[in-house]
């Protein structure tokens, strides 16, 4: 299908010709210096001595930076309570990959060569690396959080059946194709402009102000586009930006800092890995009477966004199921590893895995189709509709999705077929699973749910559009252009979308939480509407006609069907009448509230729902698997751009599949990351793509709350549809003991983990015969 022109990715033509500029491509900067950051190779210890004499003498070196060279506060944490995350190590080393010093030279090569000449003396001390070590050491980085409804202990004890177990989920490297990079350009009177690859220009701005010891109005951060973010550029950009800005201030020359790929993988935070301990009680009907889920996550060496990530895990511990008696606890652990951060889904995927495992365990115990257990436990209005944190969830749409998907994927009959296939196939085992997703939309930090836009119309009728969101491939700019275009009724080519810039929109929220279109779309619509109304007023004044009889369409002012003057003429008329041709728009999400201390409220403006059926086959000899077919039915409300939404669904699904089945981060005992390059850390290639992927958007399902065009957010929710792959693998593995034993498959389900699980199921299966 060919999309109508206005629906193409706004930069697609620039991308296919190589003309789309990323930070690293900006070349017309004179006297550019290059920075190389030297990272700690030790996970924990003391920095005893740092001799940088030979580094300074090395050819091309202009400056060498250490903690002592930070003019302001040596901290990247961007937290009100501050501390905990120095840009440069001062004395204490708390993780591999922390910056020790930086070399600034006339070329990246010279900077790198020079960095090797440093003499760094360190004294190692014992480090806490794994989640289990952290639990044993009780090394909490933040207080635990708990949601309690009913009495889970009693409910579990009084149930006919009890299950319990643990589940480990690995982390995930973002592997944005464009790595971390910033260029700092010093301006007059101590001002600094930074071009950064970031999802959060305003945070870079305020972090730099702190580092440089200036106020925010001296720092401008701009971002035209980034080559992928996925959460990895929400807070992590301040390392490169910080080094570049300090160096630029010191040398009065522009400085670029780009991490090389391996450094990027070693130094920057990743998805949180979890251990989830679960206990549940249920009766013959499969209904969960009581459940306790204990989440322990590895936060790494600093807090970063770990509180919010773990909060969201807890807020999605129910996934789509009503929990009458539940104790949901989240423990946040400090470890001497890289500081884990935001990653598409922001804790929710891990949150959901726990309860989905419980569902699976129940199904195995009762020898039923897990889908039936899911259906039995699903939220239902009116009596089973309140989440553990007290927000009402109307499950109508989700029930509809599961119903329609079960039908058109032919889940039931395929499941039977697969069971027959497995009986006759000793080595290759197939499996199938359907899993639902209910994902809450809004930042749980309520204050972040705001956005701004700034629209300029010039005398020739051309428009500049600024808003607070960052284009990172999700199609945000394309969607927002469409909104403004619809209101002003001009061609897309008449609107130029500008780089996201703290000079244009201040105090922006990160482009995250799937909410960028919801927030910025509303802000842009409001600015465009203000200008639209002003123009109508101008016309009414000039033509002496009531406003109600005038309208804009197809780039013309109309009365009734009759075009009177072009948009451009009208704009010029407004100018001559001395009417302002620029406007700001602002939006704040209504009706949300959340108290993170009591963990209650209605933090989400709405939920985005979906479900997926995955079919896999596992080779019992090698542990390798293939995903044969995926059927997805997902809700995007009234889509702003169907092809972009489908692209998000597909891309999110594959990224989730990568996390669940193949992407494995391995640290050695000393806390040194072993999988720090694309040759050892494997993300999905086109080979891993399932042979059949059917993606459908739920039809006739406008958002029930007032969102931009009644659309729904789509960035993160589809990632969790990939949980169906994990459960299909589990289904396939369990066939080796005739579907009686829960494989308790850990994440990622690599061939090794699959083989372990197969052996476990075989052993327990034999024992139970």
């Amino acid at each position: 299908m060919i999309m109508p022109d206005r629906n193409y990715h706004e930069s697609s033509r620039a991308h296919v010709t190589g003309a789309a500029l990323y930070a690293d491509d900006i070349s017309n900067i004179g006297n550019l210096l290059h920075g190389c950051v030297q990272a700690s190779t030790l996970a924990r210890g003391t920095l005893c001595a740092l001799n940088l004499e030979r580094v300074r003498q090395s050819p091309g070196v202009v400056a060498v930076l250490t903690a002592a060279d930070v003019p302001g506060v040596n901290d990247l944490s961007h937290l009100p309570d501050g501390g905990g995350e120095p840009l440069f190590i001062e004395k204490e080393i708390v993780s591999e990959g922390q910056a020790v010093f930086a070399v600034i030279a006339d070329s990246l090569d010279n900077a790198r060569q020079a960095a090797k000449l440093a003499v760094v003396e360190v004294e190692p001390s014992s480090a806490v690396i794994t989640i289990n070590q952290a639990i044993d050491a009780d090394s909490k980085i933040a207080p635990s959080r708990k949601i309690k409804v009913g009495d889970s202990t009693r409910a579990i004890d009084n149930s006919a059946f009890q299950i319990n177990g643990s589940l480990y989920t690995g982390g995930q490297e973002h592997f944005y194709l464009e790595g971390q990079i910033s260029i700092a350009i010093p301006k007059e009177s101590g001002a600094m402009t930074v071009i950064a690859s970031t999802q959060h220009p305003s945070e870079i701005q305020s972090t730099l102000a702190l580092l440089l010891g200036v106020s925010s109005n001296s720092v401008t951060v701009q971002t035209r586009r980034i080559g992928g973010g996925f959460g990895g550029k929400e807070s992590q950009g301040s390392l490169c930006a910080g080094v570049a800005a300090i160096a630029a201030q010191l040398t009065s020359q522009p400085v670029k800092v780009r991490l090389d790929r391996d450094q990027d993988m070693i130094m920057t935070g990743k998805r949180h890995d979890f251990r989830i301990d679960y206990k549940a009680g249920f009766d013959n009907d499969g209904l969960i009477r009581g459940v306790s889920l204990d989440y322990a996550s590895r936060c790494g060496h600093s807090l970063d966004q770990s509180k919010a990530v773990n909060d969201r895990a807890l807020l999605h511990a129910d996934n789509a199921y009503y929990l009458e008696n539940a104790t949901l606890t989240s423990h946040r652990y400090h470890t001497n590893t890289t500081s884990n951060t935001a990653f598409r889904g922001f804790g929710a995927p891990q949150g959901m895995l726990g309860i989905e495992r419980v569902i699976e365990e129940i199904a195995f115990t009762l020898q039923q189709d897990p889908l039936d257990i899911r259906l039995a436990n699903l939220y239902r209005t009116p009596n089973r509709s309140v989440t553990p944190y007290g927000q009402e969830f109307d499950s109508k749409v989700l029930v509809r999705i599961i119903g329609e998907l079960t039908e058109h994927s032919e889940y039931r009959s395929r499941r039977k077929k697969i069971r027959r296939f497995n009986q006759g196939s000793p080595v290759i085992k197939k499996g199938i699973a359907l899993t639902p997703v209910k994902f809450g939309i809004s930042f749980t930090a309520i204050h972040l749910n705001q956005a701004g836009a700034l629209l300029h119309i010039y005398r020739d009728g051309s428009v500049q559009l600024n808003h607070a969101g960052v284009e990172m491939g999700q199609g945000l700019h394309t969607k927002i252009l469409r909104i403004v275009q619809d209101i002003l009724t001009i061609e897309r080519s008449d609107i130029r979308i500008m780089a996201t810039n703290t000079e244009k929109i201040p105090n922006t929220s990160p482009t995250a939480a799937s909410a960028a279109t919801d927030l910025n779309g509303m802000a842009a619509a409001s600015a465009a509407t203000v200008l639209h109304d002003r123009l109508i007023k101008v016309a009414s004044h000039r033509l002496d006609l009531p406003e109600a009889e005038l309208s804009l369409s197809d780039g013309f002012l109309h009365t009734g069907d009759k075009p009177i003057m072009s948009f451009n003429e009208l704009v010029n008329e407004a100018y001559l009448q001395r009417v302002s041709l620029f406007a700001t728009g602002f939006y704040r999400t209504p009706d949300i509230n959340f108290d993170p201390d009591s963990f209650t409220g209605s933090p989400f403006y709405y939920y985005a729902n979906g479900a997926a059926v995955s079919e896999v086959e596992v080779d019992l000899l090698t542990g390798e698997h293939k995903v044969n077919r995926v059927d997805i039915l997902h809700e995007v409300g009234q889509s702003l751009n169907e092809e972009i939404d489908k692209g998000q669904i597909e891309g999110g699904f594959i990224q989730g599949m990568g996390w669940l089945t193949m992407e494995e981060l391995v640290w050695n005992d000393q806390g040194v990351l072993q999988t720090h390059s694309p040759s050892t850390y494997k993300i999905p290639t086109c080979r891993e793509r399932p042979s059949i992927v059917n993606i459908d958007l739920l039809r006739d399902a406008p958002n029930q709350v007032e969102s931009i065009y009644r659309s729904k957010a789509v960035g993160e929710p589809p990632l969790m549809l990939s949980i169906s792959v994990l459960h299909a693998l589990s289904d396939a593995i369990s066939s080796v003991a005739n579907y009686r034993i829960c494989p308790q498959l850990n994440v990622p389900a690599t061939p090794e983990h699959i083989l372990e699980s197969v052996q476990r199921v075989e052993k327990l299966g034999l024992a139970s015969v």
Binding site: I2, G18, Y176, K646, R689
Partner: protein, 159 residues
């Protein structure tokens, strides 16, 4: 000082002669010396395909090749495809079919697609998959990229 060497080659149809350090990669030469930034640095170790270009019509990772090895050869980068109208359908299809999200892998994908279509003008899905196996994309999940290349193959053959 590192040793330098003078090389002559054809770049996007024009002759180039350049003195380069012996250790310089083709990627650095293109980006830093010739200001052709369409070819991207993704990993610098031959694993991602963001730096794919054609040398004598064959796709290679520019980050792995030494610039000295370009002497006497013919290089085509994504910028060079623009001049050849034969590539219009390919670029249009990428733009129109949603094969582009963040776009960082796109120039490399386009170059690899050219290579595939030159070898298999009617490339089927498995040939396309084999062809772009070395080109990572973190955004799209590949579906639309595969469809794009397949559709151009069909188009080329019709037209």
């Amino acid at each position: 000082m590192s040793l330098t060497h003078e090389i002559k080659f054809t770049l996007n149809g024009s002759p180039v002669s350049l003195t380069i350090p012996l250790t310089m990669s083709v990627l650095t030469m293109l980006r830093d010396l010739l200001n052709l930034t369409g070819t991207k640095y993704g990993c610098g170790e031959g694993e991602c395909g963001a730096c794919t270009i054609l040398i004598d019509g064959v796709s290679v990772n520019a980050c792995l090749k030494f610039a000295v090895d370009c002497d006497g050869r013919t290089l085509t980068t994504v910028e060079g495809l623009v001049a050849d109208s034969r590539n219009d359908p390919l670029r249009t299809a990428f733009a129109e079919k949603g094969g582009v999200q963040c776009g960082f892998c796109t120039p490399g994908m386009v170059m690899q697609a050219r290579h595939i279509l030159d070898n298999y003008p009617r490339a089927n899905e498995s040939q396309i998959k084999r062809g772009i196996e070395g080109n990572l994309c973190r955004c799209t999940g590949y579906k639309k990229i595969i469809e794009t290349i397949a559709s151009v193959g069909e188009l080329d053959n019709k037209g």
